[in-house]
Amino acid sequence: MARTTPPTTEGTTTPVAASAAPPLPGALVTRAGRASKASAGVLALAVIVLAALPYIAFAGTTSSMVTFFVLLIMASMWNLLAGFGGMVSVGQQAFVGVGAYTVLAFANMGINPFVALPLAALTCSVFAIPTSWLAFRLRGDYFAVGTWVIAEVYRLIIIRFDSLGGPSGMSLPGLNGMDPVLRGALTYWAALALAALTILGCYLLMRGRTGLALTAVRDDETAARANGVDVTWSKRLVYLVSAAGCGAAGGILIIDSLSVQPNAIFSVQWSAYMIFIVIIGGIGYLEGPLLGAIVFYALQQLLAGYGSWYMIILGAIGVAGAIWLPRGLWGTVTNKTGIQLFPVGYRLNQPWTLPPNLR
């Protein structure tokens, strides 16, 4: 199906005549509706406004926005893995930690931490290759706990390196001389750029052949395999991309806090946050993590003073959401209204609903 439909850019229309059996004579297949085009504009505008924020707002605001972007990146990566790849991992903190420690290792060698960020992403996807050999032996629920064990193994190995601070962690060298305001702004921009890149990357990935293959694998692995989808390759690709994204997020975290503590950076809490955000926002929708991260961030600001009650409430909402709102907030919205911000599928327009010039 994907093969017969030529790749389209957003907003263009393609006559169905190209496909083997046109559903209706004269019908047109489009990817983006009016709302999608409008939202693309709004999102682009939002990125521009957010990029200007360090000139307008106080450093405290931009600093807390960094946390938001990091959560958004992680959640998008988890959504890619679980929502599109069908791999529910509770061990993505492995790559958050490896990413942070990669930045630390390069900084120890004298490389600027900001320059080391892409290297952290790259290192994580390299580490993800052998990890996937082991983790892919497990399926479903067992994959989840297996990845968790692997994350623990990464932590236990890293704390054996005294040059990386051992069990107590260490502070990040290389940024001490920098003006704090400039450093804060740079961190903010790096986080914003990565978040935008993550969302755009997920969108492009899911629009293409890989996206279609993945969706098929998630829905029915055997059927997808029978139709010629290279299942393992598709899953591995997503796993590597997801590791790279989480690694970059980990890199931002260490640059933001200027130190790393192994138990905190390898904490399963990161997985808890990712899962919560995606479940609330809507698993399997590219819009889900964005909406979920906003809700999560708002709850965090609202409940910050309540200590562990905050986590209790998050956990309870997560449980309720998984049972009673399996499609999350965005899934419910898009089901009712048909609005898609990031259209990855195809939609069929009947000729009579189109403007005359397109008929």
Partner: protein, 300 residues
């Protein structure tokens, strides 16, 4: 950890002692893993709150011991059925709904539950570490000679693990309910045609799992100190025991627990900081070279 007392000793005896300590530790892991294995075997579900339930059981025993005049044996005797009833209730209210919503949902529900439990315990009992005082059971041991001793608690745990696993195995193979449970596990729709109530049977499996994990939590709480955050560690050890032994096999789970216990004990003997990592590495080695586990059979 059962680090062997290292004095000027003859080496074989030292190794034998490590072996014995490892066996007893393995018994504890098998006891932890039994519930996980049952739930996976019957309904293909992994309960990520498994370890946290064990921690709750530990705190419940502490509260009952402190707040009532009941002796320990009575407290344990009350706690286990109570957990089984809670397990039945949680299955009927939460797990069965999430199983219906899809395999992903069950995982997310138990993960959420785990977070709720951990933070709830933290709120209620603070992060201080506790231990269950079992009197002579905590301290007593059979001293076979001055290097080899078998603690009462360790031996009891190992015996309980074997009893639980044999008991569940017999229950599944001999009793009417157990047979129905296996039928439902194989094909719920067909089994329902001959009168099996899958919700009820799954809930019974969950009840058994909750009861056994409560027992594991109590034994573990007497053996070493615990705090609200150790649940995930217990879950991971139990999980490793299940996978090393072979998915869906109760005998495998017992073997897996023992392998894990022995690995950790010998690693601790060589280098205490290597204990946990060694267990994980054995688990990964099994995944890499023998993914079907040690005893790959479908008992359930």
């Amino acid at each position: 950890m059962p680090a062997a007392a290292r004095k000027e000793t003859d080496y074989p005896m030292d190794l034998l002692n490590t072996l014995v300590q490892g066996l007893m530790l393995g018994g504890l892991y098998a006891l932890f893993a039994a519930g996980l294995s049952i739930m996976f075997g019957v309904m293909r579900m992994v309960n990520l709150a498994h370890g946290d339930l064990a921690v709750i059981a530990g705190y419940l025993v502490l509260v009952l011991l402190g707040g009532t005049m009941f002796p320990l044996w009575l407290v344990v005797l009350v706690t286990l059925p109570l957990f089984a009833v809670i397990g039945y209730g949680i299955h009927r209210s939460l797990f069965s709904r999430s199983l219906k919503a899809g395999p992903l949902s069950a995982l997310l529900v138990t993960f959420g539950l785990s977070i709720v439990i951990q933070n709830g315990l933290l709120e209620g009992f603070s992060a201080d570490t506790r231990t269950i005082d079992m009197g002579v059971l905590n301290t007593g041991a059979f001293h076979l000679n001055n290097q080899l001793s078998i603690s009462y608690l360790g031996l009891l745990t190992l015996i309980l693990a074997v009893v639980v696993i044999v008991g569940v195995q017999l229950f599944l193979s001999r009793t009417r309910t157990g047979k129905m449970m296996r039928a439902v596990s194989d094909d719920a729709d067909t089994a329902s045609l001959v009168g099996a109530n899958s919700k009820h049977l799954y809930a019974i499996a969950t009840a058994i799992a909750f009861g056994t994990v409560a027992l594991a939590g109590i034994m573990s709480g007497a053996r070493s100190s615990f705090d609200p955050s150790i649940g995930p560690t217990q879950l991971i050890f139990a999980f490793e025991a299940v996978v090393i032994g072979g998915l869906g096999s109760l005998w495998g789970t017992l073997a897996g627990g023992v392998v894990l216990g022995l690995t950790q004990a010998f690693a601790a003997h060589l280098d205490p900081s290597f204990t946990i990592l060694a267990g994980h590495l054995v688990f990964l080695a099994v995944l890499a070279f023998r993914p079907q586990g040690l005893i790959p059979q479908r008992t359930v």
